[in-house]
């Protein structure tokens, strides 16, 4: 079975961690090469897009670049040889038409989707840190069904627009309505029982590996190790000066930083999906991971 294995997630949910795991597992990069993270590119990468298109992304309108994205996936699927073929994606899954005939990610270029999900209360904190916005603004983003990345800029220079939508819509769009083969991976499991969690993901991706290989890759992805490597040589994905990309990574940090009102807002907006994935129970009580 050929096609792309998508690493899909709402932003700041563990996608980078997962990419590093697969790069270490398949030995595409050496033990210290965290800055070769782009060897599993983002599907909205400017370099990838321009290579495929043969023109400057900056000469396209936002609408044009967005509509060309399925063609980019097709091109990537047909022009690359490495196995497994992986792409990172932060968009919610969507269709360009009401008849659902034109999906952002088409089944015929897809081997499967590893969907990484993280407690939205922790996502709020991590999004606020990464994008240098307030917690309040971050809460708004997770609850906004029109949320996107890229539209805010005057110039569509670096990336085509990414349609993110609200946190719940993001999850449901991939897990329920995409019609694709999906494996859900919880961030909290990646932390608490990494070997089991990553082994399942590797098997889903069709990677022929032993548990020893998985253990090795998991150890190379140890958060404190990545943090030390970043301190020593920097990390290409980091966009801020003076703040680490591998910053805290803790589960439950929201307890120190979110107000009761903010917690209530997230739980109210995302109740159904949070119950379904075990973040709260039916009485809205929080379940410790």
């Amino acid at each position: 079975m050929s096609g792309i294995v998508w690493l899909a997630s709402y932003p700041k949910s563990g996608n980078t961690w997962c990419r590093l795991f697969f790069l270490f597992l398949t030995r595409q990069i050496n033990d210290g090469d965290i800055n070769r993270i782009g060897d599993i590119p983002a599907c909205y990468s400017q370099a990838l897009f321009e290579r495929a298109l043969g023109l400057d992304l900056a000469d396209l309108t936002l609408k044009e670049s967005c509509r060309l994205r399925p063609k980019l996936h097709e091109w990537y699927c047909n022009s690359q040889n490495q196995k497994p073929l992986m792409l990172k994606i932060h968009d919610a899954h969507f269709f360009f038409d009401d008849d659902r005939q034109k999906p952002l990610v088409a089944p015929d270029v897809t081997r499967g989707v590893i969907y990484i999900i993280r407690n939205p209360l922790d996502v709020v904190v991590s999004v606020a840190d990464f994008f240098s916005i307030s917690i309040e603004r971050s809460v708004e983003r997770l609850c906004d069904d029109r949320s996107d990345m890229g539209m805010a800029y005057d110039r569509p220079m670096r990336h085509p627009v990414q349609i993110i939508r609200s946190w719940s819509q993001h999850v449901v769009s991939w897990v329920d309505t995409s019609g694709l083969r999906v494996h859900v991976m919880k961030y909290e499991d990646m932390q608490s029982r990494p070997k089991q969690s990553f082994l399942q993901a590797a098997r889903f991706a069709g990677i022929d590996c032993e548990s020893n290989d998985v253990n090795r890759a998991v150890n190379l992805c140890d958060f404190n190790r990545l943090k030390k490597l970043e301190s020593k040589m920097g990390f290409i994905e980091n966009r801020q000066v003076g703040v680490n990309f591998f910053n805290q990574g803790r589960v439950g940090r929201w307890r120190e930083l979110l107000s009761r009102r903010q917690v209530h807002r997230i739980i109210t907006e995302h109740r159904e999906v949070m119950v379904r994935f075990g973040y709260i129970d039916g009485d809205n009580r929080l379940i410790d991971s």
Binding site: L53, G54, R155, F235
Partner: protein, 303 residues
């Protein structure tokens, strides 16, 4: 034909059925044109292309570029461009892709050496600013203009060699394309400026070459790069790294293989690498380091 327009660009005499205000017009007969641009039927794709992208097919002597709602362009033998505009396409949009990707393919077919760069000069010497789109080439060039440099060429810089073997840049388009935010930073009003496309906040600004269209000798190539780190660094490069670094600045490098021009292209690159010094200008990926970048480059150029 009586309604054709006549231009000189990259040292080529171009006769076109489409008016191109971004090219330098010539008022007198120059004999047979090097390149003709006209309208006509264009196939949807090339038969048996050597390489294809989402918007192009390429093979030896032929190149086809297509973009929905803009049109199709067919480039043959480095001499002819045939355009079939899409219904309702705006003429400025047709020109944008004609003078960018399509001309890039034509120049490669002619075995010329097009680099994706901005050229600034002081006196008889100039340097090239290279780097990916959005890295800040235009902004840096405008910063250098505040320090006594002239803007000479933008986007496609054609490199040739004079009788002494010195590398030089040929005069190219008469305009630079700038985003609104760059114009604002330099207090340049957008009133009266023409947008490159109706929907984009990007404008054509005339390049004032102070009346001189003579080629400029290249003293140095700077390649702007975002890096992990905290400070601006000029990193001279040599040997095979230098060849690779220059090759990576080729305008529409992805076309080279499909057009079957790898050998002359590589020879041009190595000749250039043997003739100029090249430095990476490493910019920290976070924060605003532009002023320091401009200072360091200006100092390096004068040294």
């Amino acid at each position: 034909m009586p309604n054709d327009y006549s231009y000189n660009v990259y040292g080529l005499h171009v006769v076109s059925q489409i008016s191109c205000p971004e090219l330098c017009p010539v008022g007198h007969a120059l004999g047979n044109p090097d390149v003709t641009i006209g309208f006509g039927r264009v196939p949807d794709k090339l038969e048996r292309p050597l390489k294809s992208g989402i918007c192009y097919d390429a093979k030896d002597g032929e190149f086809l570029f297509h973009l929905e709602n803009i049109g199709k362009y067919w480039v043959t033998d480095g001499r002819r461009i045939c355009i079939e505009p899409a219904c309702g396409a705006d003429e400025s949009e047709i020109r944008l892709f004609l003078l960018g990707s399509v001309f890039g393919a034509l120049l490669l077919q002619r075995k010329m050496l097009p680099l994706h760069a901005t050229c600034v000069r002081k006196g008889n010497w100039g340097f090239l600013l290279c780097g990916v789109s959005g890295i800040g080439k235009s902004t840096t060039a405008y910063g250098l203009m505040d320090r006594g440099f002239d803007l000479y060429a933008d986007d496609i810089c054609i490199v040739d060699f004079d009788v002494l073997g010195l590398p030089k840049v040929m005069p190219g388009l008469t305009h630079i394309k700038l985003w609104r935010d760059v114009l604002m930073d330099h207090r340049l009003p957008t009133d009266g400026l023409v947008r490159v496309r109706p929907e984009l906040e990007k404008y054509y600004i005339p390049i004032e070459r102070n009346g001189s269209n003579e080629p400029v000798v290249i003293k140095k190539i700077f390649i702007l790069k975002r890096v992990v780190g905290q400070k601006v660094e000029l990193q001279p490069i040599d040997g095979i790294m230098k060849v690779v670094a220059i090759r990576n600045q080729t305008f529409r490098r992805q076309y080279v293989e499909g057009l079957g021009v790898q050998v002359p292209h590589f020879m041009g690159i190595t000749r250039l690498a043997n003739s100029v010094s090249v430095s990476f200008v490493n910019r920290p990926s976070g924060g605003n380091s532009l002023d320091e970048v401009v200072s360091r480059m200006a100092e390096d150029f004068e040294s």
